[in-house]
C-alpha cells in the first residue's frame, strides 16, 4: 500500500515558526503534557517540602490524633488532610513522602540501567557464549517472583532506604537487558555500524558513540515506566515492613499504618494511596507521550 506521502525536506525554505510547531505537538500529546505537569509538581514538592509543608512531619501530639480532614465536618483548617494515629499532620507526611518515592525511584532505576544496559550491550553486540550466558541469567531472573527476590535481599541486607534501592535495582535490571539486547542486535547490522567498522573504529567507540546513543530512545521510555514501577514496589515493600521503617514518612509505611483504621479513619490510607496513584499515573502518561515522540522519529530515520 502506498504510504501517506511525506514532504521532502527543502532545507533552504523557511519553516513555520518553531513556537507554533511546538504548541501543535503539545496539543497532540496533551496527555503527556498532563503527565509532565504532575511530575513537575512532584519534583517541586520533593525539593521544597520543608518550605511548603504546614507542619513538622515527625511532630507527634496525642491530643490531636485521628482528626478529620478539613473538608469534612469537624475537621480543622490547619490540618487539611487530617492527622494520623500519633497526631502527625497527614498532608505534611505525604509531601515529605514524595522525597522518598522519587529518590528511591530514580536511584533504583539508575542502578538497573547501569547493570542492565551494559549486560544487554555485551549480549547483543558480541552474541555467542556471552549472549547465551546473559540471556539465561535474564530468563531465570524474570521467572522469579519479584517479592521473593526482594524479600531475600532485604532479609540478608536489612531493611533501610539504601538497601531498598539495592534490592529494587538488582531485581529490576533484566528488562533493561532484554530491550537493550534486542535493539543492539538490530543496530549491529545497520549500515552505519558497518560503516564505522569499515572506518577502522574500535569496538569501544562503536558501542559508545554509535550504538548506545541510538538505544537511548527505547531505554528512556522504559526507564520512565520503571520509575513508576519502582515507586509502587517501594510502597509494597514498606507496606510489608521490609523497606522504609517508621517513623520515616514513606507512602507505603503510611498505608501500613493506616490499614488498622480503614473503617473509620479512611483518610489515613486513602490519601497516601492516591499519592502513589497520581505519581504512577503521571509517570506513565509522560512515558506514553515519550514513546509517541520517539517512535515516529525512529521510523523516519
Amino acid at each position: 500500500m502506498a504510504e501517506i506521502p511525506t514532504s521532502n525536506p527543502e532545507i533552504d525554505e523557511a519553516a513555520p515558526s518553531i513556537l507554533s510547531l511546538v504548541l501543535r505537538k503539545m496539543w497532540h500529546l496533551r496527555m503527556g503534557v498532563l503527565g509532565a505537569l504532575l511530575i513537575f509538581c512532584l519534583i517541586f514538592i520533593a525539593l521544597f517540602c520543608p518550605y511548603v509543608s504546614p507542619h513538622d512531619p515527625f511532630k507527634q501530639d496525642i491530643t490531636k490524633r485521628l482528626w478529620k480532614p478539613a473538608f469534612m465536618e469537624g475537621g480543622k483548617a490547619e490540618y487539611l488532610l487530617g492527622t494520623d494515629h500519633l497526631g502527625r499532620d497527614l498532608l505534611t507526611r505525604i509531601l515529605y513522602g514524595t522525597r522518598i518515592s522519587l529518590v528511591v525511584g530514580l536511584a533504583a532505576v539508575i542502578l538497573m540501567l547501569t547493570v542492565g544496559v551494559t549486560l544487554g550491550l555485551v549480549a547483543g553486540y558480541f552474541g555467542g557464549k556471552a549472549d547465551a550466558v546473559i540471556s539465561f541469567l535474564v530468563n531465570c531472573m524474570m521467572g522469579f517472583p519479584f517479592i521473593l527476590l526482594a524479600m531475600s535481599l532485604v532479609a540478608v541486607l536489612g531493611a533501610s532506604l539504601q538497601n531498598i534501592i539495592i534490592a529494587l535495582g538488582l531485581t529490576g535490571w533484566p528488562v533493561f537487558t532484554r530491550v537493550t539486547r534486542i535493539e543492539t542486535m538490530k543496530l549491529r547490522d545497520r549500515e552505519f555500524v558497518l560503516a564505522a567498522k569499515s572506518l577502522a573504529f574500535s569496538t569501544r567507540r562503536i558501542l559508545v558513540r554509535h550504538i548506545l546513543p541510538n538505544l537511548l530512545p527505547a531505554i528512556l521510555v522504559l526507564a520512565t515506566v520503571e520509575v513508576a514501577r519502582a515507586i509502587i514496589r517501594e510502597s509494597l515493600l514498606s507496606f510489608l515492613g521490609l523497606g522504609i521503617q517508621p517513623p520515616t514518612p514513606s507512602w507505603g509505611v503510611m498505608l501500613a499504618e493506616g490499614r488498622d483504621y480503614m473503617l473509620l479513619q479512611w483518610w489515613l490510607a486513602a490519601f497516601p494511596g492516591m499519592a502513589i496513584f497520581m505519581s504512577a499515573l503521571g509517570i506513565n502518561l509522560l512515558g506514553d507521550a515519550l514513546r509517541d515522540l520517539v517512535d515516529p522519529y525512529l521510523r523516519k530515520t
Partner: protein
Amino acid sequence: MRESLIQLKNLTTHFFTPEGVVKAVERVTFGIDKGRTLGVLGESGCGKSVTALTIMRLIPDPPGKILEGEITFEGSDLLQLSPGDMRQVRGRDIAMIFQEPMTSLNPVYTIGDQIAETYVIHQRMGKPEAFQRAAEMLRLVGIPAPERRVHEYPHQLSGGMRQRAMIAMAMSCRPKLLIADEPTTALDVTIQAQILDLMLGLQEEVGMAIMIITHDLGVIAEVSDDVVVMYAGQVVECASIETLFLQPRHPYTLGLMSSIPQLGRKFKEGKARLKEIPGLVPNLIRLPPGCLFQPRCPMAFHTCTQQRPPLFSLDSGHGVRCWLVEKEARNP
C-alpha cells in the same frame, strides 16, 4: 474504434497532516480506453500511487480527503457511489496489485484461501468450488503444480511467485481494469520480464485495460499504449507511447530521458556524462508559485515563475503542461 473505459476529471486529493496540507494529487485528468494499457510514469511523491488509491477509494480519511473531481466508470461516477456499491466495483470490475507482494498478501492465510475469498464474496461460490477455481487461476498465471501451491502460505513462495499469486487474486473476477502499482520494482529483472509478459498475455485473453504505475521508463516503453507523466501531483505530459518517445515536449520528460543510463548508449553516442536534473522534488506542503517544475527547469523563463501552466493540447491527444508550448496549442 476506441472506447473509453474510465475517465478521471480534475481529481484532487489532499492530506491534512500536523505539518500542513500535502497536495498529493492536484486536478488530475486522464482516461483509459478498453483493452488498452496506460502507463503512469513518475518518481516518488509525484502522486501516482495516490491517484490509483483514489480511483479505488482507498484513501484513509483522515488524514486524506478527495476534495474534487469525477471518476466516470461505465456510466457512473465512482466518487458518488455508496460504500457498498464501491465494494462491488472493487475486486469485481477494478482490481489492484501492489509492489510488495509480501506485505499485500496476508501471511496467515494460504494462497488458496485468499484467492478463493474473492470467489466466495463476489460470486457467491461454495468453498470447495472456489478453491478449485483458485487452483485454476494459479495455473493460468503460470505457477507450476498449482494444486499443491494452493495450500501454501505466502512465505513459502518466491517473490516472483507471490506476485503471480497476487495477479491471480486480482484476475479472479475478470476485472475490466487492472491497476498495477510498481508491480515489478521489487523483482529481479528476469522475473520482471516474465511478469510483464504474463500481464500482457492475460490482457489479450480477457480484454481488460491495464493502468501500470512505475518509475521505470523501460517498463513503460514495453507495455504501454499511452503514457501519463506525473510530477508533484500534476499531470505534466500525456501522449501515446510513440509520441512520447519521438516528440517529448515537457522539460521534465526530456530531463528524465537524458538522465537515465541506457544499455548500449555509450557505444553508439560515445561515453558522455548523464544529463542530470538538478535540485529536488518540491515539498508538497510548500509548493513553489508558478510552474511546479520551474525551480529545476533549464528552459524556464519569467512567466514560469509567476503562473501555473494549464495542460495545453497539441495534436493527436498530446498534452503538455508547459508555457513553452503555448503558441502551438490548440486550446485557448
